[in-house]
């Protein structure tokens, strides 16, 4: 376990709920509609939106077995975001051209927007939500915070997943190997130099 710099790991949400600062209205309460984002658990509960899928699909997502129904033209990312409410994985181009939707499929990093959900039958998917160990961050996540490998954060889940995959295959990459491995993830904010630093730091963390 790394003894690196302590990351300010406090989630803002946790802080607000504990702080009791009396900021009335800072948490939005609405009468006639219920937030769809509250349930962030995976696999335990399937939030039924309006996808009336006709094909059965069984797969493992973040370690939990899921049985669900999808349409033929449902993509893997739609399954993850809409059926399973795992909104950590983002869709920025919907055509396999940017990497924001990257997830691990049987350990390989792929574009989940550019794959049919049915093609994940019997396979194991890991999303950004599946990297933590309880409340403990994955070393790659820690490294991204410490080295500031992000700005707006929208491409970040995809970057982190790509980094996890890269380091699983090559635990001691050179800078060039990091760049090649992360090449399939666009960052419009331009955080590339610090993404490189984050992955190199993560590789040191994982080794110790």
């Amino acid at each position: 376990m790394s003894k690196g710099k302590k990351s300010t790991g406090l989630s803002r949400r946790q802080f607000i709920s504990r702080a009791g600062t009396g900021a009335v209205g800072s948490v939005v309460l609405l009468q006639n509609c219920v937030s769809g984002n509250e349930n962030e658990k995976t696999g335990e509960e399937q939030i039924k939106f309006k996808l009336t899928g006709t094909n059965s699909l069984s797969l493992t997502v973040n370690g939990k077995k899921i049985s669900t129904k999808v349409n033929e033209n449902t993509t893997l990312v739609e399954l993850l975001r809409d059926n399973l409410n795992l909104t950590g994985t983002k869709v920025a181009c919907n055509n396999g051209e940017c990497g924001s939707c990257s997830v691990l499929l049987d350990g390989e990093v792929i574009y989940s927007c550019h794959m049919l959900a049915l093609d994940a039958e019997g396979k194991s998917v890991t999303t950004i939500e599946g990297l933590m160990d309880g409340e403990k961050l994955h070393p790659v996540q820690e490294a991204f915070i410490e080295e500031d490998g992000l700005q707006c954060g929208f491409c970040t889940p995809g970057q982190v997943i790509a980094a996890v995959s890269l380091l699983q295959k090559n635990p001691s990459p050179t800078k060039t190997e990091v760049m090649d491995g992360m090449a399939g993830n666009i960052c419009r904010c331009g955080a590339y130099p610090k993404i490189i630093d984050s992955v190199l730091k993560a590789s040191k963390k994982i080794k110790t």
Binding site: N73, N94, G96, G99, V109, I110, Y111, L116, D119, A162
Partner: protein, 320 residues
């Protein structure tokens, strides 16, 4: 994407039988999904090829190497066997798109992919789609063909095909009429023959294997893809080279080109001129001036001649 039926055959015979009734073969899907999302192809029925066994191996054979068409590009890129003996193919596969695409895309799909021309992929009823004319001929054509075009000026986008052409590969095709081997140079179809297609695959026919003959003993091979960005981009121009060296000269060689023509391009006369070429800076420079000398460029792609020549210099210099 529109709705479609997704058929999941368990073996190749089932697959072929379904496909010959008009279903689209679907492997990695990295190209087909884009075509479906843009509604560029009729996709009422899709046949999933991925569960068919035995089509994703890289095997040594008596005559060379045999690669299953469903082998992923990532697998081809990291194969030690290919890196040492058929480096051109390894480099070509490794230059495709990004790691994520290579983890899903298959070699068969890469060879059979459709063009990237932005008129073809866009809201234009172009010649290739059954319309009246080619929008690129007089239009935004900096990425288009400089040779072998007319009446359509697409460039074939497959890097792997350029490598396989230099390797003299044959493709095994299978249909309900059985299987047959086709030289890769006979697989692609130029626009003057039939503008609506890029290869000879019929409905109900798929590539099952790629067969590569053994290379002569003193051969080295390399692939060089030139693109505007560091990654993702399709080749502006790419070069494949298989060179047999002897006494610092080329004994025999094949240069092939991508990004210049509607099919992966080979110039027999140019390759004949390779024979006996001394591998020195000066003679390579002189030789390069022969490259693409028969090109018929469009308004914005004249640079591809110089680019092709420059890439040949770079590539042959590696063999010095």
């Amino acid at each position: 994407m529109k709705e479609f039926k997704y058929i999941q055959p368990k073996n190749i015979n089932e697959a072929i039988s379904v496909m010959s009734r008009g279903s689209l073969p679907f492997a990695g899907g990295t190209d087909i999904l884009s075509l479906m999302k843009e509604n560029l192809i009729d996709h009422k029925n899709l046949v999933n090829l991925k569960n068919i066994q035995g089509l994703s191996k890289i095997e040594k054979t008596n005559s060379g190497i045999r690669i299953g068409a469903l082998t992923k590009l990532a697998q081809i890129a990291k194969s030690e066997l290919l890196k040492s003996e058929y480096r051109i193919l390894s480099e070509a596969a490794n230059s495709v798109a990004t790691p994520q695409i290579r983890n899903v895309g298959t070699i068969g799909g890469n060879i059979a992919q459709r063009p990237r021309c932005w008129y073809f992929r866009g809201d234009f009823n172009c010649l290739k789609k059954g319309g009246d004319y080619c929008y690129a001929e007089v239009g935004e054509n900096k990425y288009h063909a400089i040779i072998g075009g007319d009446p359509c000026y697409i460039v074939h986008p497959s890097d792997v095909a350029v490598a396989l052409l230099a390797l003299d590969a044959t493709l095994t095709l299978e249909s309900k009429d059985g299987n047959k081997d086709v030289k890769i140079s006979d697989f692609f179809v130029g626009p003057e023959a039939d503008v609506t297609i890029e290869n000879i695959l019929k409905s109900g026919e798929i590539i099952t294997h790629i067969n590569i003959p053994r290379l002569p003993n003193n051969s080295r091979s390399a692939f060089h893809k030139f693109s505007e960005r560091g990654v993702w981009d399709f080749a502006i121009v790419s070069i494949g080279a298989v060179i047999e060296k002897k006494n610092r000269k080329v004994k025999s060689g094949k240069l092939t080109f991508g990004g210049v023509a509607p099919i992966p391009w080979i110039d027999e006369e140019l390759n004949r001129n390779l024979i006996g070429l001394p591998l020195t800076e000066n003679s390579i420079l002189k030789f390069s001036k022969e490259v693409m000398k028969n090109a018929e460029t469009l308004e914005y792609n004249e640079y591809k001649i110089k680019l092709s020549q420059g890439l040949v210099i770079e590539l042959l210099t590696k063999f010095i």
